[in-house]
Point group: C2
Chain length 337, copies 2
């Protein structure tokens, strides 16, 4: 018997679309707001400023060790809200499906989205599904947009980084990127490579509850990795970011795979890590708070913001040298997220 697949009719707006919504989406993602199935979701307002973000996910393969495209889409958008100090309220879910895509795989992804949303306590409240003809897409692309609220005493921005601030990385580098890249290349490596995809809003909430004024910047180093994100922070703050080579945390199996593929972990995507720029007086306290969370158990201080030359990132090597870490340039790493 042939496997059930997505048909063009599932995107027509007619009965087949409705059946997909009720039999699959509402079955797994049901909540009172989504259930209304109107043109927009209506939600009660919350105190604070609004945070709004969007991300499309085109990762290939769609299932990978540690996660799948659905889980990634939920975590990624939650993290983009958390990086401005926002408490995430809800997500939208936009699917672009290729004709012929397995309905079974679609259900696995929707179940994964449901699980990620429940664990993070952030519901999908509105959605949309389009179907493109075979060969005009690739299985499934997902857009998640999200809304959150920022308390009035919080103001997190890459422009707020200050001279003397410490750079904390919440865990190891490159786990997501290397997992996807080895799968794409069909290379099997020793050790347990898996994506670090993880929601960071609870870690951020704890950090900002204790240190509302001393956490100046939060960023999640996804595409382009820690190197590109730090370069953006250097650019926005006009400062130099000096990293300590020994402090940069990389799991041994990630380091080994990077060596094999000639890659630099600093440029690999992370999906469950954040960079926090914190005032020097409170950096140790911030580190302790992170160490008290499952998300930040491996957090380390990796560097300092200085006025030594402006808007660049350098690494101080153990032998007393320095090298400049440029942003990612000319290395296409397609469909990492």
């Amino acid at each position: 018997m042939s496997e059930k697949t997505i048909l063009l009719d599932h995107g027509s707006g007619g009965l087949a679309s409705q059946k997909l919504i009720s039999d699959l989406f509402l079955k797994h993602l049901d909540n009172p707001i989504l259930r209304s199935l109107e043109d927009s979701a209506i939600l009660e307002n919350q105190p604070g400023r609004l945070a709004f973000t969007t991300d499309s996910y085109v990762v290939d393969p769609i299932f990978f060790p540690g996660g799948d495209i659905g889980k990634l889409a939920v975590h990624g958008t939650i993290n983009d809200l958390a990086m401005r100090g926002a408490k995430p309220l809800c997500l939208s879910l936009g699917l672009i499906l290729e004709e012929g895509f397995s309905l079974n795989d679609l259900e696995l992804i929707i179940v994964s989205i449901s699980k990620a949303c429940n664990e993070a306590d952030v519901p999908v409240v509105t959605g949309d599904t389009k179907v493109v003809p075979r060969g005009k897409g690739d299985k499934i692309f997902i857009n998640t947009s999200g809304i959150g609220f920022v308390a009035t005493d919080i103001s997190i921005s890459s422009q707020h980084a200050k001279e003397g601030d410490k750079v904390i990385l919440s865990g190891t580098m490159g786990d997501h990127g290397i997992t996807i890249m080895t799968r794409q290349a069909g290379i099997s490596v020793q050790g347990n490579l898996q994506s670090d995809t993880m929601p960071l809003h609870r870690l951020v909430e704890k950090l900002l509850k204790e240190l509302p004024r001393d956490v100046h910047t939060l960023r999640d180093p996804t595409r382009g990795g820690v190197a590109s994100t730090l370069n953006e922070i250097a650019e926005n703050s006009g400062l130099c970011i000096e990293l300590s080579d020994e402090a940069l945390p990389v799991r041994p199996e990630v380091a080994a795979a990077c060596e094999l593929l000639g890659l630099e972990p600093l440029y690999l995507a992370n999906e469950g890590k954040c960079l926090a720029i914190v005032s020097p007086e409170k950096a140790e306290q911030a580190l302790e708070i992170m160490h008290g969370t499952p998300e930040g158990a491996d957090a380390v201080i990796i560097g300092t913001l200085t006025a030594t030359g402006s808007s660049r990132v350098i690494i101080n090597t153990p032998v007393g040298g320095t090298r400049v870490v440029s942003p990612l340039h000319g290395e296409p790493l397609p469909r990492i997220c």
Copy 2:
């Protein structure tokens, strides 16, 4: 000289991505919130409940008479907000580009988005761009999500339709759908077929200012057309919607093209029309308000909600007969929006 095209590197999160953002997106869509280029946009809160919606656009062709995929994406999401009585505040813009897509065409689309946003006074405040390899997408797919605010005295829902209410259609049927379908089929027809893509938030604002309690339901009949949307309203309200055959407005060139292709205008997508379900006492006033706007100049009352048999749509024909209008079923009309 070969035309400049999208490269995989444009989606890497590195320098090429940043250049695309600054040289193209910020050039045309610039505003203080978007310009910050942080992980989320931060906006001042507004009074009222929140409305949140998402839609992906995969229309083929991407340029068509009366519009393009960018204009459609702006109008469609604004209209989904307006259909709940919300005043649109802002949009997100998620692009999925195919490697090799013309940078010139991309710029035309971004310029069109900019123009549509300016005319509607609803800015893009956050965005994301992904690139997929050649043959894994189709030129450009766009997701626009949107946030709006609903005044506390407004409650618009397809569940609020009541027995005796009148059904008003804000203009002619099928203009968008037939324009796309004749282009897809490569058929040239007489007369000036063009998409009706248009933002409806100002029409809705005028309507609700005068009649905050008497407009019960608003819906824009996009995919699946007036027939499918009315069936959803009938389903949600438990009532019968009786349409008058003579009242259904169709432009002569649309009717002619439909006849040629064997299509029924009731099932064709509209992108600048709304259905308003209004209390019978105020239906004429609502019609007058619509007639006073450019968007609703051709508005007509097309039917009535009755308790004659439940949850279905029927047409009363001039010779005294009736026929049932079922929701769209089994007719794949891919990539209409």
